[in-house]
């Protein structure tokens, strides 16, 4: 328990100390939100789909969570290269607890980042239908964050250095984001895209956020929760396994 706590605390401290990272990683979601939200707004409206900013904001919140979460997981590579990973790996504590502590820390950070984007979006004109659902919204954010931090951890446990970083960005994170329905309604998407989106866990995260924030559904909340929970568990298991096999 103490192991998990101290590793969680470390992630939080590192996050709060890197102000430039907090602000830097807000830039991209905000650009998407404002440029696309305002820019494509009129087109979206003409197509009879209503307010695009309302539709887009949950997707962009999902985006900031998946980016932060995967990077938190991938930080293991830095810890490996800068030596700190060794310090944790020779300690007489189970690697499962180390992995859980790290993952919870990364997920907390990603959730926090999602909340910041959420509140900034409300200033840009986004208004959720029911503020009372905020606790449930945070639960969804945390679940999405856990899922992708675990995925990042699993990948990073298999990599020795940052050479594979671009590969992960372009062939994993970007497709997961663009094909999740974060930017466009899946209901009207061509069959192929809608099918791919079914296999993208972020689709369910974004859908759950949309249901809770603006009451628009593509799947339904029960399905979203079930898929997110199962996939999170799966990634945690795979991540723990790979993490326990790390050699330096």
């Amino acid at each position: 328990m103490k192991t998990i706590y101290i590793l969680w605390l470390r992630q939080i401290k590192r996050y709060l100390r890197s102000k430039s990272r907090i602000i830097g990683s807000l830039g991209q979601p905000l650009l998407f939100l404002l440029a696309l939200g305002y820019g494509l707004g009129p087109v979206f409206k003409q197509a009879g789909q209503g307010n695009y900013l309302q539709f887009l904001a949950p997707g962009i919140i999902g985006m900031s969570i998946i980016f932060t979460a995967i990077f938190s997981g991938i930080e293991i590579i830095w810890d490996r290269q800068f030596g700190f990973l060794k310090e944790t790996l020779v300690a007489p504590v189970s690697r499962l607890n180390i992995m859980i502590g790290r993952t919870l820390g990364g997920a907390t950070v990603a959730t926090f980042q999602g909340l910041i984007v959420f509140f900034i979006a409300t200033f840009a004109g986004f208004h959720p239908v029911n503020w009372a659902l905020l606790p449930l919204i945070i639960v969804v954010m945390l679940l999405v964050a856990l899922l992708f931090t675990a995925l990042g951890t699993a990948i990073a446990s298999r990599l020795d250095d940052m050479q594979g970083f671009q590969l992960i960005m372009n062939f994993l994170v970007m497709p997961l984001f663009f094909l999740s329905g974060a930017l466009f309604p899946l209901s009207d998407a061509p069959g192929a895209i809608a099918t791919i989106a079914k296999f993208d866990p972020l689709s369910y995260g974004v859908d759950a956020l949309r249901i809770l924030m603006i009451n628009v559904a593509h799947f339904n909340l029960a399905t979203d929760f079930a898929v997110l929970a199962v996939v999170t568990f799966l990634f945690l298991a795979v991540g723990s396994y790979f993490f326990s096999k790390i050699e330096i």
């Binding site: 101290i6 060794k86 940052m162 330096i248």
Partner: protein, 266 residues
């Protein structure tokens, strides 16, 4: 009783044999030096003994446990100061110590007291709340040594602990370690490139080259065997004068990546 036992230990990386069928024992309470040129296989051996690498073949026992099978029992038995840095730059000196203490289950009161004592011992007490990234190389080294002493292991591995330390720190560090060795019977297993240090501190010395142990014994025995006046002479007689190269890594490239990624200078 032998607290460390290695038998026919071998480690191969993609066809390259880093450690080649070595066998040795270290008795409980002994101070044992492991010497060898760069790339001889010292760190790889330590990594296998400390559960960080699985051997390709061979057997080893640490405090009666097999690192390849009972990793957690083994991890409870030793402490280690690594050759390369293993601190978290984004945490303060104190936080790095706290982190270590919690991971090793040192009770809170004892932890607080010992951290204060040790930080004073390595002369970092007034810098304890500074981020480690602001420290010089020598300060980081001192902090790592203090951290390695925070819990009381049965075996202490020190992989080139004195690299980059001034003579003052080096001397006070060894005095402290020798006292721990005498009073608490802690076994010390260390590597170094300073021959006079090995001669002065170690009870027995093993010399490893190209992955093989080529000599093992007290400093006097090694000098006798090679008819050399100093341990350095004996070392050179045994290992030759060719300069070795160590494998490079992607460290510099990575530092650059990280800098551009986090937007920070460190």
């Amino acid at each position: 009783m032998n607290i460390i036992q290695a038998k026919n230990l071998t480690k191969r990386f993609n066809g390259f044999t880093a450690v080649d069928n070595i066998s040795f024992e270290v008795a409980e309470g002994e101070i044992f030096a492991f010497l060898g040129p760069n790339g001889a296989g010292k760190s790889t051996t330590i990594k296998m003994l400390t559960t960080l690498l699985a051997p390709s073949s061979g057997e080893m026992l640490l405090n009666g446990h097999n690192p390849a099978k009972n990793a957690n029992e083994v991890r409870r038995s030793f402490g280690i100061v690594f050759q390369d840095p293993s601190l978290d730059d984004e945490l303060t000196a104190r936080e790095n110590m706290e982190f270590h203490g919690v991971l090793y289950g040192v009770p809170k009161r004892e932890r607080t007291e010992k951290i204060a004592t040790l930080l004073k011992f390595v002369d970092l007490a007034d810098r304890q709340n500074d981020l480690v990234k602001k420290f010089s190389g020598g300060m980081k080294r001192r902090l790592e040594i203090a951290r390695g002493l925070l819990h009381h292991p049965k075996i202490l591995f020190l992989d080139e602990p004195t690299l980059g330390l001034d003579p003052q720190t080096r001397n006070s560090m060894w005095a402290y370690l020798q006292e721990m060795n005498k009073n608490e019977g802690i076994t010390i297993f260390f590597t170094t490139h300073y021959m006079e240090e090995a001669e002065r501190i170690a009870g027995r010395i093993a010399i490893i080259d190209h992955g093989k142990i080529i000599a093992i014994g007290t400093a006097a025995e090694l000098k006798d065997r090679t008819k050399a006046d100093t341990l350095e002479g004996a070392f050179l007689a045994l290992t030759g004068k060719a300069i070795r190269e160590e494998a490079g890594n992607a460290m510099d490239h990575l530092r650059m990546m990280r800098r551009s990624w986090t937007g920070k200078r460190n």
